[in-house]
Symmetry: C3
Subunit: 455 residues, 3 copies
């Protein structure tokens, strides 16, 4: 997403005299179309937040659903506000030392921010801000899934706000803000590392510090905790795929026809390939076709292609997706083996495949060095994981990080919100209900499952 | 949405010679991009109807879900058809006396409606119709939430059809059609008053005449009736937020880069601010973080910014959202106190915040007078509330307005549609089931909750 | 979707000198706006796959939901990949004998594919591929609904892959690839026949060969099997309607303002009219307002208008929708009477209304002959039904087509996937549970309904 123009644009300029999308020659029509595309892409990235909310609530237990929805509602709102107040300024500081810069408080523009001259005709200042703000909030949302079903709500809110306001934005400035990694030649088109790995490192820190959910790794073996609403999970992944049209397509920073359409094709091919291989790999591993893994395979392909969507061929995109789909399955197995409990597979999807995608740029694009890509991956890992750990440790020492055992068993919806997500009893809760000792004249009411009806 | 051009356009014209979006100089490229934007916005406003349908079905009880979905399906369809037959003609009559005009039956265009000349290059005649038709149906949908769970289906269908065909459109003509309030200087960019308050007045009339749902205010205190499917409610609000990109963004009536992008930024900032303050205000009031209120805070901010999204600064947008988020919480408490039962908070979101947003234009924009804004608010209040009351009283006297007590208890899904929305028992129904006297050899079947399995 | 330009374009060219969308005179601004529109439409057609997934899972039983979501996830992914490998090349072979052609393996482009010259400024090669790929997968998805709840998963996967890769694409080449039916004057703007009837013939073959679900037509009468999640069904239909903005709007193959906006208007009017008449017709037939039928009425109107959306007037569009809404109700009744069990009504929506829409072009457009339209309908019927039958018979003889009775009763989610879609018991299952003989100290656990809690 730096404002470097890709290969295709150069080619297009040669073939279409007077049609170049560079500084000179952008007509009002092209400017208007570019800005429409970028606003549309901002809307598509926005809808990814609904995708995350539904995916997470579908893959976790019904008793924690309100809590998950609340967190996702909070993050998008807090993310936009902090990005307006300080984030945009930290991430795109203009001239700075390459490590940390600051362009001033708040967002504001003079008439120049609305002209063709602002960004070579790609978009206006306001569009620029909005598109980047929608991106910012995703990094914190990624963490949300991995720490679900056991983190204290206020603790998460503090963590997410600081993470999105400072950690993501300073990290982002190193590359997209024109900082030291950009100067080095590190390449990350739309954020396999800058967004997904950064969020993934936060997810790893959170899941590790919190420890697994009660009962997940008890009795010497792993007990799967199935999701409560698979249609919601599917809605989430399809919306995320759609959102990626904007996430990657908008990262072209204009509607350049050749480049945006190539990016959509590589994006969709990688998603489709990731789906099919994750489907097959998990089928092979567990002897059953697994829906959750197939859905995560789509996300794996999408995260994998994100770093290089504009510089690889469609065939390479398929290969990147194929690899991502296999990696994500084994990564999920791996993290379960080392007892890092990630209810939605966020670490495997965003961190593991984010690293893969970033390195793949070095493999599949002749212009980029895998060594420089590795430096970038490592630098972001040290910074994002370090910051997340530090932040979480401070929060743990002050506010506490994990809810009580009692609250976890009862569900965070009741414990933190005094509310239930559904007016349906859960099968598991119902089973407890039905098998419990039966008092004369009725049935013992479990406050957990049936409290809804009494509130 | 009058075709007056904003400040920014004038500035742009100065800075970009030959780029002005006015009558002369609109290139085919700009025209095409404008029209793409407006068609996209029509699609986004369309999707708000899904947002309303899911929000309402999520926040109400499972036994009334089919009924709610049916109403929302009916309204969008009937709304488009009546708008094509008579609504567009009533709302945009061309030359008229400022109070009531009529441009003829049906929609049709000659080739002129498809040219740059039709609307200064902003869009074609067909796009114009479609965008406005999607708007029209929202006014009736707002009413749907407030009267949910107790109104007779045919009565609602008659009311909604007449309301969308005549009340909304005649009211709209006063401002957007160039009528007397437009002449007076009243300002309502995208419809805080023209759409949301008008719908909100209808909602108030309906909720008041119908009376509260059984059990809501019994025994001298208010008994909350929690929603049955909170993920659906969240889906609804996120889709509504996305839809507002089109609702406000399209009200620019072109894709003017500076103005559309400013509008999206003010819209999203107000939504985010409304969310955070409603979250905090309700947390303070009830000592628990409340998901429904946070979601309604988003809508409050969106409704609040709608009247002035193009004429306020981003900072003012945040302030407008902050106030809206607080107002909506206290408005919900207020209406409960006076025993007006509004299952989804539609009156507080659309009427209260619609009024606030309209007055805020007078506060935050130097060019508009708060006094003129007040006149507009009052005029629409008298007309919309009066028409809704009259209409509902006639319907009550002829068709009846409220379902029988028996049907209300059993649920409208079974009573009106002979169908259930879910193949899951409700927790509350199940509880009755389990605690009911148990006949020998089995369990008493409640026709309400389990009839599904027998149909 | 052939690259013939419609009437309106010619008119526009006359009225806007220098604005013609033909070979000469397309400016970079128009090209960019066109391509943005086409990419947006590709995204909208993509989201139809989520619409199909949610509609199908909502209208079927909870015990088969994972299976349905899995199939839909597979189809979109496999569809994109096979279309990239061979489908695009089969469907648009360039010069060919009119019956079968082949442009070579895979997708690739040189710089020419990215220029204005590629498709008269309408879009780039990559956009072309992506839009068509999203279309392709829909044909197979249509089949999915009709064979739901009883087909073996691997058998369906093989069928769908071959159907989308060969049957749809070869059939498509006859018209949109410039083959023999195109030469004859057959008209199908966006695929009432090429997509919907082709899918519908496959659905008919599948539902017929598989036979009805257990219990559907037992005891000499038809037993309705109600859907398990009506909000999901409504989400599906609204998303499909939105997706049709792209399905039909993108079939203009440019963003030509007059033509695209006309198409959106005819599309929405037909959908709305189909909804209202299906609502009334089913209310008349069953004396209850039926939500499923109303939703199917929307789809009926959409399928009906698809063949002629660009060549009929808005009034004709309403008439086409009105007829489609009535037809779909009686078609559903008819197929139930001949005991072809179609759980979601896919055959009635896509096949019956697809035929109606194709013939309607001959009725409502003076330029097209109903006789030629009939030839097209018949040719596609013979080919698609024949291929589907042949393919399914081979699969039945080798892999088997239908799951065991035991698995069907227990649900395909458990049988094929070892997973459940919801953490809620189904009302029907629960009833069995509660009325089953009760062992001392607890309750008999049904592996079907409660297995979830033990996994």
């Amino acid at each position: 997403m730096t404002r470097k123009l890709g290969l295709y644009v150069a080619a297009a300029a040669l073939l279409m005299p007077g049609v170049a999308l560079a500084e000179d020659g952008v007509s009002p029509g092209v400017f208007t179309a570019n800005n429409v595309w970028m606003m549309l892409c901002a809307g598509l990235v926005f809808i990814m937040h609904l995708g995350f909310a539904t995916l997470e609530s579908g893959l976790t237990r019904a008793k924690n659903t309100v809590n998950i929805l609340f967190k996702n509602t909070f993050i998008i709102s807090a993310g936009i506000l902090t990005y307006a107040a300080i984030g945009f300024s930290l991430m795109y500081p203009g001239e700075f030392n390459g490590w940390l810069g600051w362009a001033g408080l708040g967002i504001t523009t003079d008439a120049a921010g609305l002209t063709i001259a602002y960004a070579d005709g790609g978009y206006t200042y306001w569009t620029d801000f909005l598109f980047q703000a929608m991106f910012a909030a995703t990094a914190a949302t990624i963490v949300s899934g991995a720490v679900a079903e056991r983190i204290k709500l206020p603790s998460f809110m503090v963590f997410a706000t600081i993470f999105v306001a400072f950690v993501y934005t300073i990290a982002g400035s190193w590359k997209w803000g024109g900082g030291w990694l950009d100067g080095m030649g590190f390449y990350d088109f739309a954020g396999s590392t800058l967004v997904h790995s950064v969020g993934g490192w936060g997810a790893l820190a959170g899941a590790w510090l919190l420890g697994p959910r009660l009962g997940k790794y008890g009795k010497g073996r792993m007990t799967p905790i199935p999701g409560s609403n698979m249609p919601m999970a599917a809605v989430g992944v399809f919306l995320l795929w759609l959102g990626w049209f904007g996430f990657n397509g908008g990262s072209v920073l204009s509607a350049d026809p050749g480049l945006t359409s190539l990016v959509l094709v590589t994006t969709c091919l990688a998603a489709a390939a990731g789906c099919i291989t994750a489907m097959l790999a998990s089928w092979f591993v567990s002897s059953k076709p697994d829906l959750s893994m197939s859905l995560n395979g789509i996300l794996a392909g999408l995260v994998g292609i994100t770093a290089g969507a504009d510089v690889v061929t469609p065939l390479s995109a398929v290969v990147i997706g194929v690899v991502a789909g296999v990696i994500v399955v084994f990564s999920v197995v791996f993290f379960d083996r080392i007892k890092i409990d990630d209810p939605v597979g966020a670490i495997s999807v965003h961190l593991t495949c984010g690293i893969w995608g970033t390195l793949a740029v070095g493999v599949f694009s002749a212009e980029h060095s895998i060594f420089t890509q590795l430096i970038g991956v490592a630098a972001y890992g040290v910074f994002a994981f370090g910051c997340a750990m530090g932040l979480l440790l401070v929060i743990r020492a002050t506010m506490g990080l994990r809810v009580s055992e009692e609250e976890e068993l009862e569900g965070l919806d009741f414990g933190e919100h005094g509310q239930h997500a559904y007016d349906f009893p859960s099968s598991s809760g119902l089973l407890d209900e039905l098998t419990a000792p039966r008092p004369v004249g009725g049935v013992a009411r479990s406050s957990t499952q049936l409290a809804h009806s009494e509130s």
